[in-house]
């Protein structure tokens, strides 16, 4: 035992010395465009996060393999594991920002909220694709934050629009009960102000069922309440392990699945598959293509996945979340390309990237050119509107896979935009002194 203690002392000393000697030093070659990817392949949200991470990584890697990067400059990709944890996310941000990071995709509303004030200070834009702070769509207040193609508030208004269509117009919503089950975090609470506003305006009752993050896999009490309240429709804002659990519980209480609508983050095949055949009819919003009949995805398959350069399971290519990750990387890549065109530089900086994202114009033609015709709705970012495109479509689970059941549905921009502007002004006021926009409009 005496020797063991000597060993222990020695180990402690060794650990201390290594800790002192090893200080992470940034080292970056000059001829690449560096894109850090904040991903999570571990923890309770890994089930959703792995597909997103694979999609983001594979598209950028495919560009490197096929075209040698963007504009002849390869993309340096580095993943940093956040476990969906805000503290680790900030750590990843601090560790990678010094290497010339062009843009951050936090994939967590919690991390996004942390990074928003830092973005303008460090001059690195934040691209929160379809998540994060809805108010960030107001480019005059948040020049460094982009949430193309759609905000949560747009999404929530589309769901209400869709429900109204089913019921025969917005007027028939009055007296209806709409349940809202959500992850009790920044993410799930984000659309509540809009839903409350719409409930007041159209006279339906909004019932809220919060699911705490540490209770995601145990939702029986929430669904017991759903059974008691019998809402006419259920809306879900779930992520990670919350989605399959909610769908399973809904099946268990025999909730009519065709009246159960999830946000685009609850649209994973794995999520719906938890309910199997019984979950048929479950609907979810989506804004990225379904399936793999796109030339770019075929390129990913042959050049990256079949070549064994990634850990992606070949069967997951073309699934909703994987394609979502691909779309995220498409926006990054197009942002870099636009920035290169506008600045004339090949190796760009975070400031150039901001200009590139602000001038982003992803047209039908351009989508076809990059081998993704019809993969997403055309999006055009303007200096005022950082959300770019807005329409989303609804897909339905047929028991085995998702099929698109509606065309693109426009959100209630007339309701959402004033709310966004009010929320942005409110944010700026609460975080006073919030910096005024000084960046010139690129267009």
């Amino acid at each position: 035992m005496k020797h063991l203690k000597t060993w222990a002392c020695a180990t402690a000393l060794a650990v201390g010395v290594t800790a002192g000697a090893v200080a992470p030093q940034p080292a970056q070659a000059q001829d690449t465009n560096y894109v850090p990817l904040l991903t999570y392949r571990t923890g309770p949200f890994a089930g959703s996060g792995i597909h997103i991470a694979n999609g983001m990584n594979d598209y950028l890697q495919m560009l490197n393999e096929r075209d040698g990067g963007i504009g002849g400059v390869p993309i340096a990709i580095e993943e940093c594991e956040t476990s969906y944890n805000a503290q680790k996310g900030v750590e990843c941000y601090e560790a990678t920002k010094g290497k010339g990071a062009l843009v951050y995709n936090p994939y967590s509303t919690g991390i996004t909220l942390q990074l928003i004030p830092k973005a303008s200070v460090d001059k690195i834009p934040v691209l929160s694709m379809g998540y994060g702070l809805s108010a960030a769509a107001v480019g005059d207040v948040f020049p460094w934050v982009f949430n193309v193609p759609v905000t949560y508030w747009d999404g929530a208004s589309v769901v209400i629009n869709y429900i109204a269509d089913q019921e025969g117009g917005l007027d028939s919503l009055s007296g209806k009960k709409i349940g809202y089950i959500f992850l009790d975090a920044g993410y799930g609470r984000e659309p509540i102000p809009l839903l409350e506003q719409l409930a007041e305006k159209h006279g339906f009752e909004l019932l809220q069922y919060p699911v705490p993050a540490n209770q995601m896999q145990n939702q029986s009490s929430q669904w017991l309440n759903v059974r008691r309240d019998r809402p006419d429709y259920m809306i879900m804002w779930g992520w990670g392990a919350m989605n399959p659990t909610a769908i399973k519980e809904a099946v268990k209480i025999r909730y009519p699945m065709d009246k159960f609508i999830g946000v685009w983050w609850s649209a994973g095949e794995d999520d719906a598959a938890a309910g199997g055949q019984d979950a048929a009819g479950y609907k979810a919003l989506n804004f990225s293509g379904v399936g793999m009949d796109f030339p770019a995805l075929q390129d990913i398959k042959t050049l990256v996945v079949d070549a064994g350069k990634t850990q992606t399971d070949p069967a997951s290519i073309g699934t909703t979340l994987y394609n979502r990750g691909v779309l995220n990387s498409v926006i990054i890549a197009e942002g870099i390309r636009t920035a290169q065109e506008l600045t004339g530089k090949k190796v760009i900086t975070g400031e150039d990237m901001r200009v590139g994202l602000e001038a982003l114009n992803l047209t039908q033609e351009r989508l076809a050119e990059i081998g993704l015709a019809g993969f997403a709705h055309p999006m055009k970012v303007t200096c005022e509107d950082h959300a770019g495109s807005h329409p989303v479509f609804i897909q339905e689970w047929d028991g085995e896979r998702f099929v698109k059941v509606t065309d693109w549905i426009e959100p209630m921009t007339d309701v959402v935009r004033p709310l966004l502007e009010a929320a942005a002004a409110d944010y700026a006021e609460k975080n006073a002194p919030w910096p005024e926009r000084t960046e010139a409009c690129a267009q």
């Binding site: 650990v15 090893v22 601090e94 909220l113 920044g186 984000e190």
Partner: protein
């Protein structure tokens, strides 16, 4: 040989009662402070300051706070995370109500709110002990976390439910908010941590600290000798919660810049408890060592593959770091259940007789 107090005679009571009676200790502490205040600010990069040193100091302070309660007074608590949250939310509300008051002052004041809440949740400790007390503090953890989520007033009814820290300056230097440089924030955190650690170290060896230790070692005997358990235990809860509250406020003001209720969840409570257990129950220095082990070691482990240019996935690195840290925790706790503080004492003893051990 190097560490030997032979020949150092104390000629006055002051010298005998000094916090560090041995000259080598004084020199060692001086060197540590010199490194912390001069060498690190001159040499470290932003990542090291913002993601390693600032969290390390914040966690060290929180571990000192819990150590007062668990290590010195023997009351097991699982509510540390929530008490830190009380400090954070109190400081946040105070900055909204008094926007012109110096933010450091508000951070220090916020500890009093935490102390009051801590004392209230400490009341059951008069009747129940040990694991049962842990369960009631667990109730505090869940109740307070519920408050952070459900009471909109606490976070000024932000749509996101998170508290976001405004920009504040002192003497013309921005010390909080996103624009504050890591260096400025580091100095603030370092100064507060060192001052409170020094204060607590002195309290612990005085009358109050000794009465806590009497309660810890045998409460009936302490009572018979005239220590009043009510006041003593509640004071331990209050002091511990004060320190934790200040640490929690510093966590959001000088490190994270924005915090969701989940930042102050049960995970944080356990993290701090592990720091205390690994560092050594009943040791202020051990709190620093425990915090370094739990916070800095995983960061270093994650950086190693990158330095060696080994190409493995980010998640594999994460898993490896988990396993190595876990294995080391088990190793250290088997070999020395009294933590790093005890190991450091053994090392000192060995240095004393080196190179001729007997």
């Amino acid at each position: 040989m190097f560490y030997r107090e032979a020949g150092q005679f104390k000629t006055s009571y002051e010298a005998d009662q000094a916090l560090f009676p041995i000259r080598q200790d004084k020199i060692g502490l001086g060197i540590i402070l010199l490194v912390a205040f001069v060498v690190i600010p001159l040499t470290a990069n932003d990542f090291f300051l913002a993601s390693v040193m600032i969290p390390f100091l914040v966690f060290s302070l929180a571990a000192i706070g819990l150590n007062v309660l668990t290590g010195f007074c023997g009351q097991l608590s699982l509510g540390t995370g929530a008490f830190m949250g009380v400090g954070a939310y109190a400081a946040y509300k105070l900055t909204t109500i008094f926007p012109d008051v110096n933010v450091i002052f508000l951070v220090l004041v916020s500890g009093f709110f935490s102390a009051a809440i801590g004392a209230i949740f400490g009341l059951p400790s008069l009747r129940i002990k040990g694991l049962y007390l842990a369960v009631t503090t667990l109730a505090a953890q869940f109740f307070l976390e519920w408050c952070f989520i459900r009471i909109g007033w606490l976070y000024n009814y932000n749509a996101s439910g998170a508290i976001e820290i405004p920009t504040r300056e002192m003497f013309g230097v921005i010390i909080s908010g996103a624009e504050a440089t890591p260096l400025a924030r580091y100095f603030v955190v370092l100064t507060i941590t060192v001052l409170i650690a020094f204060l607590i170290a002195n309290v612990l060896r005085g009358r109050i600290g000794r009465s806590w230790m009497m309660i810890r070692d045998m409460d009936i005997a302490a009572e018979l000798m005239g220590i009043r358990p009510l006041q003593t235990k509640l004071m331990a809860f209050a002091v511990s919660s004060y320190v934790c509250g200040v640490a929690g406020a510093m966590m959001v003001f000088f490190w994270l810049n924005a915090a969701e209720p989940s930042s102050y969840s049960i995970t944080l409570s356990f993290q701090i408890l592990f720091m205390v257990i690994l560092g050594g129950l009943g040791s202020v220095g051990g709190a620093f060592m425990g915090a370094a082990f739990i916070w800095i070691l995983p960061i270093v482990l994650r950086a190693i593959p990158n330095m060696l240019d080994v190409d493995i996935g980010a998640e594999t690195v994460e898993h490896l770091a988990f396993m190595v840290v876990g294995a080391l925790i088990i190793f250290f706790l088997i070999v020395e259940p009294h933590g790093f503080a005890r190991l450091w004492q053994i090392a000192k003893q060995k240095l004393r007789v080196w190179p001729f051990p007997y």
